[in-house]
């Protein structure tokens, strides 16, 4: 869950311990650098031995992440990192497994594995760098690009509607759904830690700027002039407040979120929606904010942990099942299996 547990530090590690002898080859100014920095920063604090981290990536700019963390890692094939990670975690539950993926890698070619790993609830961390574009293949629209997006493969505008990753994750029965941004290092660090401490599949959508092919896609959420009115930072048990002077709040009218001005008479912080990470219905409404802009233009974009619940992990359930069968049947000799139950003798 999202409360932070103190873990004894096994060995004093510093962020330098996680920086390998490799040149980082992302474009200058790419948002990926920030994520890498935050990972290097928080990893020494997690109390995990350096050799117990495993990074699994697919293909795409984000997936080069594997090369840049000095631990164990596999740079695999497009879309399949989640599937590979499930095999690692199922067979080696003690490892801390991280998947770094992108909007194309996770939501297009790897869509099936993405939803199933969430549903199966392996205790792994999935960092989805959403830049709403295909970067490595040099700029085609992605499954999160907005309708009408002009790219090399959509010179007249994309005719598709985009996925809403948080909504998709919730629909796939994810037990931890969160969102953060490359340009807010502190927030990202706190979310990454929460993702790590959540026992189960943790989904972190990271808004990541691609200055080369889709510059500024998310600046509205971080630029000084717009940040306060466009971004909502969720905190467990706290009311949904945002705005230049924290003077706006969100109330629920039935299932409809309503933005209210706290300076206006009669509007009190006490009447606002209190964030409850365990509330699946509210999490779905929060995830849906981004698609309600047409009818509800004042709604901000929520960042933080949208949803977090405890459910048994796949690998624990599997281990328990094995233990149960062994305690019931004992471990037979291999010869028993070779002979089976029914044999006969000739001669």
């Amino acid at each position: 869950m999202s409360e932070i547990i103190e873990v004894p530090v096994i060995e004093k590690l510093t962020s330098k311990d996680f920086v390998p002898n490799q040149d980082v080859k992302w474009c200058p100014g790419c948002g990926d650098y920030s994520v890498l920095k935050q990972v290097h920063t928080i990893f020494p604090e997690l109390g995990v031995k350096k050799e117990d981290f495993v990074f699994v990536c697919g293909i795409g700019c984000s997936s080069r992440f594997t090369f840049y963390v000095d631990s164990y890692g596999m740079h695999s094939i497009h879309g399949r990192a989640t599937a590979i990670a499930s095999g690692i975690k199922a067979s080696r539950p003690e490892l801390s497994v991280w998947v770094v993926t992108g909007d194309g890698d996770a939501l297009s070619i790897g869509g099936n594995h993405f939803i199933h790993i969430l549903r199966k609830n392996f205790d792994i961390n999935i960092l989805l760098f959403n830049n709403q574009i295909y970067g490595l293949t040099k700029g085609q629209y992605s499954p999160t690009s907005e309708t009408g997006k002009i790219t090399k493969s959509s010179p007249y505008g994309s005719v598709e509607q985009p996925f809403n990753p948080a909504e998709l994750a919730l629909g796939a029965k994810a037990t931890f759904v969160s969102r953060t941004l490359d340009r807010d290092p502190k927030h990202m660090q706190s979310i990454l830690k929460k993702a790590y401490y959540h026992k189960g599949a943790s989904f972190v959508e990271i808004y990541q700027n691609c200055p080369v092919f889709n510059d500024g896609a998310f600046f509205i959420f971080t630029d000084k002039e717009t940040k306060k009115t466009e971004s909502l930072f969720l905190e467990e048990g706290k009311p949904l407040v945002f705005g230049v002077n924290n003077d706006r709040g969100i109330k629920l009218d039935g299932f409809n979120p309503v933005v209210v001005d706290l300076n206006e008479n009669g509007n009190s912080v006490n009447d606002l929606w209190i964030h409850d990470e365990k509330d699946r219905i509210k999490a779905n409404i929060l995830a849906g904010f981004q698609d309600m802009k047409d009818t509800n233009p004042d709604l901000p974009r929520p960042f933080g942990v949208l949803y977090a619940v405890d459910k048994p992990t796949y690998e624990d359930a599997m281990e328990e099942q094995i233990a149960r069968v062994i305690s019931k049947k004992g471990k037979p000799a291999l010869d028993k299996i070779l002979s089976g139950d029914k044999t006969w003798v000739i001669g």
């Binding site: 390998p20 490799q22 031995k49 350096k50 050799e51 117990d52 495993v54 990074f55 699994v56 594997t66 090369f67 000095d70 631990s71 164990y72 890692g73 596999m74 740079h75 695999s76 094939i77 399949r80 599937a83 590979i84 990670a85 499930s86 095999g87 690692i88 975690k89 199922a90 067979s91 080696r92 003690e94 490892l95 099936n112 594995h113 199933h116 599997m318 099942q321 094995i322 069968v325 062994i326 049947k329 004992g330 471990k331 037979p332 000799a333 291999l334 010869d335 299996i337 070779l338 002979s339 089976g340 029914k342 044999t343 006969w344 003798v345 000739i346 001669g347």
Partner: protein
């Protein structure tokens, strides 16, 4: 019980070396179970045998139709049995469609046992007999011994006071037929009686009904005077030892457990349901007490990818599938090849391409196994030749994968996967060791670990994540020789491609030399086979040699790399015949590698070769 007991009427006793029985009926008639029971009993009584279950493609095709016919063929006898038989001596036809479908392969003069209730107007129409024609009535079966039994009514009579539903009574009629067969072959029903009691232990009424039906069938044979023939088959002269009955898929599953135990590697199976491979997944899912992690993945790609992940983590990792699934796994297999991690890929072949003939057998994925990946990507390929041989081949595949750090493809097929035979199973001690060691210390005196530094087998070290000090990254991008760093350098790529190929070729140094299965070196005709054609080729060769012909049989388990002496061995024969259940695949490899003018014999009907088909071709070549 195998001495002919006194019985209530007179009959002829036919002593036979071997007999083929075909059980045929509607999918709902329980023919697979009946056949399996008959088979197990026969095996238990010391006969050698081989079976061939044939399923319809649909789970429940409309009852009574030709599409719904389900068959189970068993060939058993006192001599060594290698095939399920070209033609049968006895055909059990539970309905008109079964007769219509299977009469063609009944020997002239053979026995037909029918359930007359399955030959009413409706059944005849569904079986596509012309209006007004009933084969049981029109004299068309005059050349056979036909026993017309109203099995349905007799079963009803036998069970009438038990308070069972019509459906439950209907379901017991296969036991009546089995009883008749036990009488006819003078076999004790004890094995089946025990089976019924175990299977229906929670439902004593159903158990009793099945037992009553079985006994009613036996008594029917005994008391009615319609049966004029009874068979007597002596004990087989199989080598002495303890036996069990095994299907290919079952043997495959326990081979994996055995390899896991012998190597000390935990077993992981990533699989997605597909006919005819699902039984491997089913079987392995049972062995939790061996800590088997069977993972039913969301698709074929995830199945192989999860296995790659498990292999990376230090497991003996396996994925099982059939043709279409194989196509889906190819990209990931390329990754495993590049990562140089152990992985066993089981392809239980079926008729292709595309969905093809899911329940029929074929050997048409050999070239795919050899060449079906992009880039230069050779992999070891092995094939099993019989149900029991699946054990040894799959075990060997695990050994090669783990000891040579490579994915290995095993080609089985539907025929041997579902077919069964008696197996003089090994003990744990008999199995060759599988030696695996994980690297825990750097292999470089400068300290920096070299993940692609090779040993004498040309294989790289296997390091489990969690090993302190050896942290490194691997992946699908080309690696620099030794360091494993990403490298786009021209020279390096060529070196790595050649190293990966040489590593696979090197496996030939560790596998046995090819031997001749039957016959002599330099024979006039060599029949060269691979996979499930073993039984038919073996029977033909034995017969022809006995008749004085100069024939030899070589059967390949190792298809890549070939055993080192294969070329030399083959070049000694005047003519090489390669029978394959495909349009000519091994033949291309042989011609390509050894420039030998082999002759193909190809059958692509979703069915195994009959011995006659091979025999005729060999005789044609011998008489040239």
């Amino acid at each position: 019980m195998d001495t002919t007991e006194p019985t209530l009427h007179k009959f002829d006793v036919i002593e036979a070396e071997s007999v083929v029985v075909r059980f045929s009926g509607d999918s709902g008639d329980g023919m697979q179970l009946t056949g399996t029971q008959f088979t197990d009993t026969t095996a238990f009584l010391g006969k050698d045998l081989s079976t061939f279950p044939e399923f319809p493609a649909e789970i429940r095709a409309p009852a009574g139709t030709l599409a719904g016919v389900s068959g189970f063929q068993v060939h058993f006898g006192s001599k060594e049995i290698f095939t399920a038989g070209d033609t049968y001596d006895v055909l059990v036809a539970m309905n008109a469609a079964a007769l219509g479908n299977d009469l063609k392969n009944l020997k002239k003069g053979g026995i037909i046992i029918t359930n007359t209730a399955g030959f009413d107007q409706k059944n005849l129409r569904l079986a596509e007999y012309p209006e007004g024609v009933n084969p049981l009535e029109d004299g068309s079966l005059a050349n056979y011994q036909v026993y017309k039994i109203d099995v349905t009514r007799l079963t009803k009579d036998a069970l009438k006071d038990m308070g069972l539903s019509n459906k439950d009574i209907e379901r017991s009629k296969n036991m009546f037929v089995l009883g008749v067969l036990y009488w006819m072959f003078d076999q004790s029903p004890d094995y089946t009686l025990t089976f019924i009691k175990e299977k229906f232990s929670k439902n004593p009424l159903i158990a009793e009904a099945n037992i009553k039906a079985l006994k009613a069938g036996l008594n029917y044979g005994d008391t009615t005077e319609i049966f004029t023939t009874r068979f007597k088959i002596n004990h087989s002269n199989l080598p002495t030892g303890t036996y069990r009955s095994i299907t290919g898929n079952h043997a495959t599953a326990i081979a994996l457990v055995a390899a896991s135990e012998k190597s000390g590697l935990p077993l992981f199976l990533g699989s997605y349901p597909i006919t005819p491979a699902s039984d491997v997944l089913h079987e392995l899912s049972k062995y939790k007490e061996f800590r088997v992690r069977s993972f039913q993945a969301e698709d074929e790609i995830a199945a192989v990818c999860s296995a790659i992940g498990a292999s990376y983590g230090g497991s003996l990792a396996v994925t099982s599938t059939s043709g279409p699934g194989m196509s889906l796994k190819t990209e990931a297999m390329g990754l495993a090849l590049m990562l140089e991690l152990p992985l066993v890929v089981l392809n239980i072949q079926r008729g292709g391409p595309s969905t093809g003939l899911p329940t029929k057998t074929e050997q048409s994925d050999l070239l795919q196994a050899m060449y079906g990946r992009h880039g230069e990507s050779p992999l070891p390929v092995l094939a099993s030749n019989s149900p029991a041989d699946c054990f040894y081949t799959v075990y060997e595949a695990c050994k090669i994968a783990a000891e040579h750090m490579t994915p290995v493809i095993v080609l089985n097929d539907g025929y041997i996967a579902n077919g069964s035979e008696p197996w003089r199973f090994p003990t744990e001690e008999d199995l060759e060791p599988i030696s695996v060691s994980f690297t825990t210390e750097t292999n470089n005196k400068d300290g920096v670990f070299l993940p692609y530094k090779r040993d004498e087998k040309l294989s790289r070290p296997w390091v489990k994540p969690g090993t302190k000090g050896l942290e490194h990254r691997i992946g699908g991008l080309e690696r620099e020789n030794e360091t494993g760093d990403i490298s786009y350098e021209a020279e390096n790529h060529e070196i790595m491609v050649k190293l990966r190929a040489a590593k696979i070729e090197k496996i030939a140094d560790y596998i046995p030399l090819q031997t001749i299965d039957t016959g002599k070196e330099n024979a006039k005709v060599c029949i060269l086979g691979w996979g499930s054609t073993y039984g038919s080729i073996k029977s033909v060769s034995l017969d022809l040699i006995k008749e004085g012909y100069d024939v030899a049989h070589i059967h390949l388990r190792y298809l890549n790399p070939f055993p080192k002496n294969l070329g030399e061995l083959l070049s000694g024969f005047e003519t090489i015949l390669i029978p394959e259940m495909n349009n000519g695949q091994l033949i291309r490899l042989i011609r390509d590698k050894y420039l030998l003018p082999a002759i193909g014999l190809n059958k692509i009907k979703g069915l195994p070769f009959t011995t006659l088909e091979i025999r005729e071709k060999v005789l044609e070549l011998l008489n040239k």
